[in-house]
């Protein structure tokens, strides 16, 4: 019998886009982004251990326009992954499965991540200019 290449899970293209689906996919994407961010954290920690000169050069890279943009995206990824993770933990213990609850916690996750990202960067901006 010939072995046919059957579609393997997850085959996302067969579904209509839904809020919870977008939230779940974003959770995974932000998780991958944060794993890359872990390498940057390592780079930063090694620079701190390396002394003032190493730290200044690492700080210059991170404070460059591209570095700032990446750090802002990582801040959002962190807050999103953190809030969505707590939401998933809530699901895991059996809370919030009703349609309206799912929708509300989903929207809180998005809004919370955006607001917290803004808050952190306003604080950082304020600190750098006072």
């Amino acid at each position: 019998m010939p072995v046919r290449a059957r579609p393997l899970s997850p085959h996302l293209e067969v579904y209509r886009w839904r809020l919870n689906m977008v939230l779940s996919i974003t959770h995974r994407i932000t998780g991958i982004a944060l794993s890359v961010g872990f390498l940057v954290l390592m780079y930063w920690l090694v620079a701190v251990a390396g002394g003032p000169r190493a730290y200044e050069s690492a700080a210059a890279v991170l404070a460059s326009p591209l570095g700032i943009l990446a750090l802002i995206l990582w801040t959002f990824a962190f807050f999103y992954h953190c809030l969505a993770g707590v939401r998933h933990l809530m699901f895991d213990v059996g809370f919030g499965f009703e349609r309206a609850q799912r929708r509300r916690s989903g929207l809180i996750t998005i809004a919370g991540a955006v607001v917290l990202t803004f808050a952190v960067w306003i604080l950082l901006w304020h600190g750098a200019h006072s």
Partner: protein, 126 residues
């Protein structure tokens, strides 16, 4: 007695046996990461500035060293668990999958190890 079907036995497929542990470990590490990451972020924001002296002084405190080591260990663990599932989900070619998982594991041990070494150097180095 095996519960696997004859076909499943022949194909060598079926349960990988440790799915539940993987899932559970991911949850436990995620719970630990909530306070650890928030501590790290809030402490960083509470520093007078992000210059070398302030950052080094903060990370050299015993409590910072301890929490930061716990943070990078848990982070490496959780990140490895998460990215492993991603590879398992999307990389279907057997050889490429094994190679990716191997690279992933080495990278996480490297990143975790280098972070711990850096933190210990900050704590105990001159």
């Amino acid at each position: 007695m095996s519960l696997r079907s004859p076909l499943g036995r022949v194909l060598g497929r079926g349960s990988a046996r440790d799915g539940t542990e993987h899932w559970w470990a991911e949850r436990i590490s995620s719970v630990a990461l909530v306070p650890l990451t928030l501590w790290f972020l809030v402490s960083l924001l509470a520093l007078p500035d992000l210059g070398y002296a302030a950052v080094r002084g903060w990370l050299a405190l015993p409590i910072s060293s301890l929490l930061a080591v716990l943070l990078v260990v848990t982070l490496a663990y959780h990140s490895h668990l998460g990215t492993t599932v991603v590879i398992e989900d999307y990389v279907h070619d057997a050889g490429l999958k094994v190679a990716s998982l191997l690279v992933l594991r080495f990278l996480h041990v490297l990143a975790g190890g280098a972070s711990i070494f850096a933190l210990l150097h900050i704590a105990f180095g001159a």
